[in-house]
């Protein structure tokens, strides 16, 4: 931090520049959403842009809409490019780097980073980067989520940082490699062009802003923003009581070996610093739910941002945080450990941070979110053309001191909207037979969790089905006395009945003839507060609405309804008293 420089900026200019810079990044996001090809970017907003420090790669400015997990991970991606440039020593204006290496600042192979230097008078001023989830990049399973992968080579093609553009000239050889390695090269080509559009726009807008305010002023503003985030984060940590708060949770299995894997956290608050220590978490596993150290740090950042929403998104927020991430654990995996299912592990990791902070600060207690991405792909051939329907599904969020959890929401790592049924049915040979809320899926509580969903789909052509999900064996947890939610379930129709995967929420190589149905039932969110303190009228209403069954009202909430659905007051009071003992 450079006091002399940041002090030179008056508070008005600082506030104005904050708005102007964030607007540039927001506009880069919007440009990609509108011009991207695959719905995972265009509808689900699985993308992110930002400005990064020329030397350290630290995040300087982030937009309001970037996919949360990418916001945390991008600095590592820029660092990977910085390392590459140092090695090769040939950075030039007009270069644009492209890569998807998950061990070197990436997340999983589908996420393609484009990193572009911004030069001013021949000097590197900052980095600009764009990341987007491409639809398919090879591997054994269309869409990339291969639950059976034991090496990243089975998940798709891995590209280290290479120059896509060299001094402003497109390298067609790189394009040829990309084209040859995807089931849907046109979609990837469209998305890459969208990312290039976004970077081009960023360079143009930044140039104008630098001309208006001067390079030095903007550079000092960057410093001041990070310092401010750091100060806000320190203030937030200081408000927590000193002490250690432990919380752990498990993943069902890695898709290969049916053994639970644990994510353990001890969060220690000391003054205005916090240590997140993951010692005791399981060793790296065979299947694809490992994450690299950089992804772990990025996920911690996402969790903290959800808890401390006032702290702006830049590198400053992480300065007061120390990390202990055991090498070789599922949270510190190295190549070629498979990582395609990284979303599941970071969701569990974000959950344990919520669980630990709930002990430190009851006002920030959040019931566990549904906690699985449920990456479902249905693929095959329609009129001789290959189709890949690939989507993530929703579930309930946890209850909080403020309210019940949100029904059918997205995960904390994403802001993606779900594609409409009608868009999917118009594009792919499938028919949805159910798209509804799932009764008794929410964790009971004074404020119950949000309700999960039931999605049922009928194949109209012979189809290959693959699912990578979680929460089939350990439910989303409740906090402050709240109860756990329902677990994840997946079924497919057979000639005689229904079957479920042996690995609970993970399956591949499922071949269904036309006219068969699959059904996904997603978890709700964990409850907040003792369910026996939930107002009886609200429990009754939940029964009327079909969110809570009469049986659960009695078992979980101690509310007894008679056959007409009216509250049996005497029985309820005595039941609640009995429970309370």
């Amino acid at each position: 931090m450079n006091d002399a420089e940041s002090a030179a900026l008056d508070p008005v200019t600082l506030a104005v520049l904050k708005g102007r810079l964030e607007q540039i990044v927001d506009e880069m996001d919007a440009t990609l959403y509108r011009s991207a090809f695959n719905p995972t970017i265009a509808e689900a907003k699985d993308a992110c842009h930002g400005l990064y420090d020329p030397v350290t790669g630290d995040t300087l400015v982030q937009g309001a809409n970037g996919l949360p997990i990418f916001v945390g991970a991008m600095a590592f991606a820029v660092r990977a490019v910085i390392a590459k440039v140092e090695e090769d020593g040939d950075l030039a204006d007009g270069d644009i780097f492209l890569f998807n290496d998950p061990y070197d600042g990436g997340t999983h192979l589908n996420d393609f980073r484009l990193v572009r230097p911004l030069f001013r008078d021949g000097e590197l001023f900052c980095w600009m980067a764009s990341v987007g989830h491409w639809l398919d990049i090879g591997g054994n399973v269309a869409g990339g989520y291969n639950p059976k992968a034991t090496e990243s080579f089975q998940e798709g093609v891995r590209i280290p940082p290479v120059k896509l553009y060299e001094k402003g000239v497109l390298r067609k050889d790189i394009i040829a490699i990309l084209e040859a390695n995807s089931r849907v090269p046109t979609s990837n080509w469209g998305d890459m062009n969208g990312q290039l559009n976004a970077l081009e726009l960023g360079v143009r807008r930044m140039g104008a802003l630098l001309d208006e305010y001067g390079d030095k002023t903007i550079a000092s503003a960057f410093t001041a923003f990070s310092d401010r985030s750091e100060a806000l984060m320190r203030a937030a940590i200081s408000a927590l009581p000193d002490g250690s708060y432990s919380f752990s949770d498990v993943l069902d299995n890695d898709g290969i070996v049916d053994e639970a894997l644990s994510v353990m956290l001890k969060a220690t608050v000391q003054g205005d610093r916090m240590t997140l220590d993951f010692t005791g978490s399981s060793p790296a596993c065979k299947g694809p739910i490992n994450i690299s150290r950089s992804t772990t740090v990025a996920a911690c950042y996402v969790a903290l941002k959800h808890l401390f929403t006032d702290v702006p998104a830049n590198a400053g927020c992480l300065r007061p945080i120390d990390f202990v991430i055991p090498e070789g654990s599922i949270l510190g995996a190295e190549a070629p450990k498979p990582v395609a299912g990284y979303t599941e592990t970071i969701l569990r990791l974000i959950g344990v941070i919520f669980g630990a902070i709930a002990q430190a600060d009851p006002d920030r207690a959040l019931g566990g979110p549904f906690g699985t991405i449920n990456a479902l792909s249905i693929s095959g051939h329609d009129d001789g053309r290959r189709f890949v329907m690939f989507s993530f599904f929703g579930g309930g969020l946890g209850g909080s001191p403020k309210s019940d959890g949100l029904n059918h929401a997205n995960n904390p790592i994403s802001t993606a909207t779900i594609p409409p049924v009608e868009i999917l049915e118009a594009a792919y040979p499938v028919m949805f037979t159910r798209w509804g809320l799932r009764p008794d899926s929410a964790g009971p509580g004074c404020h119950r969790g949000g309700v999960g969903a039931v999605y049922e789909i009928e194949t109209l052509r012979p189809s290959d089905v693959a699912l990578l999900g979680e929460r089939g064996k350990a439910p989303p947890f409740g906090v402050a006395g709240g109860g756990p939610a329902a677990m994840n379930r997946f079924y497919w129709q057979t000639q005689t009945g229904e079957e479920s995967p042996p690995m609970v929420s993970k399956i591949t190589d499922l071949h269904l003839p036309a006219g068969r149905r699959v059904r996904l039932e997603s978890p709700g969110g964990g409850g907040w507060g003792d369910p026996l303190t939930r107002p009886i009228e609200q429990v009754k209403r939940d029964v009327e609405l079909g969110f809570v069954s009469a049986a659960s009202a009695e078992k979980d909430y101690g509310v007894i309804l008679n056959q007409e659905g009216e509250i049996d007051i005497a029985a309820t009071e005595s039941r609640r008293k009995e429970h309370a003992k």
Binding site: P11, G19, L196, P369, G398, L406, T417, G436, L437, E544
Partner: protein, 687 residues
């Protein structure tokens, strides 16, 4: 057709606090205005009181109304009890939304849908994406669920079937069956409201129409009754969110289209005033208590957005004047956060308790407090007329405590900082609308309307690099004026899902003619004088594989029973629009038409805005009220104060100066010049 009325037309804009009226006598070209208190819950009282101030109702030829009654019912959740019937398996679409949440960061908060789950029932039926019917609807089952809903007290009915945009037959059969048992006319089907792909948006829009039908219907009924009692026998119309006028019958059927009625009328008037004054490209700005609403007008035309979100999860998909709202209004609270940054808004003291200087109990400084402390607002004679004077000292103390001291600034510097940060936020909204859409701000003028905008319009010239600012003669009644001059408009959409390669162009032409004739008939049935009716076509298109679409205006005109549309014309229009938005075309990839949008616009007789001109027989000296100290750019300036309405046509005033009028204050910054043009507007430009 010509303007045959020759009587008087009145625009009525009912706002939260006041009802503004603009009365124009078409025979002799004179006008007058009125402002009366709104009577929340019984708006007809203020409405009538305002109207009768112009004389007997029998002398009025036409009344055009901008209303927020629908918006308020949505925000306060005071609509009808609606029953919803859906395809089996899909009753929760409305509550599941698009799986979004309120904010990117932070996970708390829930969502209560306008139709609770027990009033959402299902029937077996299924239409496929290609329009084929897989399962026919059982009309007896429809009747049975209707009876269930009636028994539960449903007052209005919405029916939404999957893929009804592709083939509405099942939905129409269900509607017919429902009509045979439903006790009233409040029955809405999704394919007639919005035959467009995307089930959540269609469900939400359909349900919100049903939710508002009884509310808006009762409201219009009450007004019509009161008008009839006053022997009014002219025409009564409603402004819709697209900035056009519709009949009261249409407003009763499609009440969700009134959601932005008042603001849209304001934008229409601002656009018309600016166009007449020689500024076809403008950004309008309405500064209220909690927010600043900006809207873009290019070549005299306001920009339309395809949908709007009234509140989390309340989506209305129908073309609306695009308004960007940011949380910076007069009541926005200024504070310094733990990281040492000044923030202005989005937290707001609103109008109650309001700014500190109102003395109504708030002690945290607002934008209005900063304007008062800087001397920009006249503390002795506040606009609006509700308060006698404003408490400058209290405002100063609040700024000192909450902004100046934490930052180590003087109180005046802190007040100026608050104003500049608010200016910059407003500038951000304008940049978002202009620069981000590829427009050069140097070609645009800012047009503030409402009471507060003119305080900041001059600063926006500098902040965004605008050409000028134009303050209409009566900023407070701009929306009411907009009601008088708005054209009649009807918008329609139809999803086509057709590839450009192998397109059946004759079928498309026939479809376009059908849509055009339908839209035109609705405009004609409004029975207002129009000079001509224009039909506009737009296609939502994309490259095969993309999901977002691009609005592609088609240069096609209805003539001799055909639109003259060709594949080549469509392709060229698409490439032109795509290149303008994204700079790179993607040859070799197929192109697809998703939706056809058709609008019919009945052009109203031109309103002669020179009726608003300033007096010619007054003098600048005569308009001078005196001088007071006003703080600009770090120091006090002895600043001339003028009575704005007394300034003669052609007057030129050099900044710094303050121009006061009963409903607005215009600040002319030191490096700006203000002049009065031929239409009574103040034009501010760089000196």
């Amino acid at each position: 057709m010509s303007n045959s009325t020759g009587g008087s037309v009145v625009g009525v804009d009912v706002g939260g606090t006041f009802t503004d009226l603009f009365h124009f006598n078409e025979t002799n070209g004179t006008f007058s205005t009125a402002k009366v208190p709104s009577n929340r819950g019984d708006e007809a009282v203020g409405f009538l009181e305002g109207l009768t101030s112009f004389g007997p109702l029998t002398e009025l030829a036409s009344i055009v109304h901008g209303t927020t009654v629908g918006t308020n019912a949505l925000l306060e959740r005071k609509g009808a009890k609606v029953g919803l019937i859906t395809t089996e398996g899909f009753r929760d679409v409305l509550e599941m939304r698009r799986r979004d949440r309120r904010a990117t960061w932070g996970l708390s908060g829930d969502f209560i849908p306008v139709v609770p789950r027990d009033l959402r029932l299902e029937v077996a039926e299924r239409t496929m994406a290609d329009g084929t019917i897989r399962t026919e609807v059982d009309t007896e089952a429809v009747k049975a669920v209707c009876r269930e809903l009636i028994a539960m007290g449903a007052e209005a009915l919405a029916i939404v079937f999957m893929n009804a945009y592709a083939n509405p037959a099942n939905e129409q059969a269900a509607l017919e069956a429902a009509r045979s048992v439903w006790p009233n006319d409040h029955i809405v089907g999704s394919a007639s409201i919005l035959p467009e792909i995307r089930e959540f948006e269609r469900t939400s829009t359909t349900v919100l129409n049903a939710y508002l039908q009884p509310v808006v219907g009762n409201y219009i009924g009450k007004l019509e009754h009161a008008l009839a009692e006053g022997k009014f026998d002219g025409k009564f119309h409603i402004v819709q969110s697209n900035g056009g006028v519709m009949s009261t019958e249409m407003a009763r059927t499609l009440p969700a289209r009134t959601a932005l009625s008042g603001p849209a009328a304001g934008v229409i008037a601002a656009a018309a005033i600016a166009r007449e004054a020689g500024f076809p490209n403008v950004v309008t700005g309405d500064l209220g208590g909690t927010s600043f609403d900006a809207s873009l007008v290019v070549d005299g035309k306001s920009m339309l957005a395809p949908q709007t979100t009234i509140d989390f999860g309340l989506v209305i998909r129908t073309p609306m004047i695009e308004i960007v709202t940011i949380g910076a209004g007069g009541g926005s609270i200024a504070r310094v956060d733990a990281g040492g940054m000044i923030e202005v808004g989005p937290e707001s003291a609103g109008s109650r308790p309001g700014p500190v200087c109102y003395g109504q109990g708030n002690d945290r400084p607002t934008l209005t407090d900063a304007n008062v402390v800087l001397g920009r607002i006249n503390a002795e004679n506040p606009i609006g007329g509700k308060l006698d004077r404003l408490d400058v000292d209290a405002a100063k103390a609040a700024i000192a405590k909450h902004v100046a001291e934490p930052l180590g600034l003087g109180v005046m510097e802190a007040a100026e900082a608050i104003v500049r940060i608010a200016d910059s936020k407003m500038g951000g909204a304008i940049r978002l609308m202009s620069i981000e859409r590829g427009h050069d701000p140097a070609k645009f003028a800012a047009v503030p309307f409402g009471g507060g905008g003119a305080l900041h319009a001059g600063a926006l010239i500098k902040d965004v690099g605008l050409k000028a600012a134009l303050v209409p003669r009566y900023p407070g009644v701009t929306s009411a004026l907009g009601c008088v001059i708005a054209d009649i408009r009807h918008d329609q959409v139809q999803t086509l899902n057709a590839n450009l390669n192998g397109l059946d162009i004759e079928a498309l032409d026939a479809r376009m003619m059908e849509e055009a004739n339908h839209a035109r008939a609705i405009v004609e049935s409004a029975r207002l004088a129009v000079e001509r009716i224009d039909v506009l076509f737009e296609l939502d298109m994309h490259y095969l594989g993309q999901t977002h679409t691009l609005a592609v205006p088609l240069p096609a005109e209805v003539k001799d029973g055909t639109t003259g549309v060709t594949v080549d014309l469509i392709r060229k229009a698409f490439e032109k629009a795509y290149e303008a938005s994204f700079s790179r075309l993607l040859p070799n990839i197929g192109v697809r038409i998703v939706n056809l949008r058709t609008a019919a616009v009945g052009i109203r007789p031109r309103f002669d805005l020179s009726a608003l001109a300033a007096p010619k027989d007054t003098t600048v000296e005569g308009a001078l009220l005196g001088h007071r100290d006003v703080w600009f750019q770090g120091e006090w300036h002895n600043t001339a104060i003028y009575a704005r309405l007394d300034l003669p046509e052609g007057a030129v005033i050099s900044g710094p100066a303050i121009l006061e009028q009963p409903d607005a204050t215009v600040v002319v910054d030191p490096d700006l010049t203000a002049r009065v043009d031929n239409f009574g507007n103040i034009i501010m430009e760089r000196a």
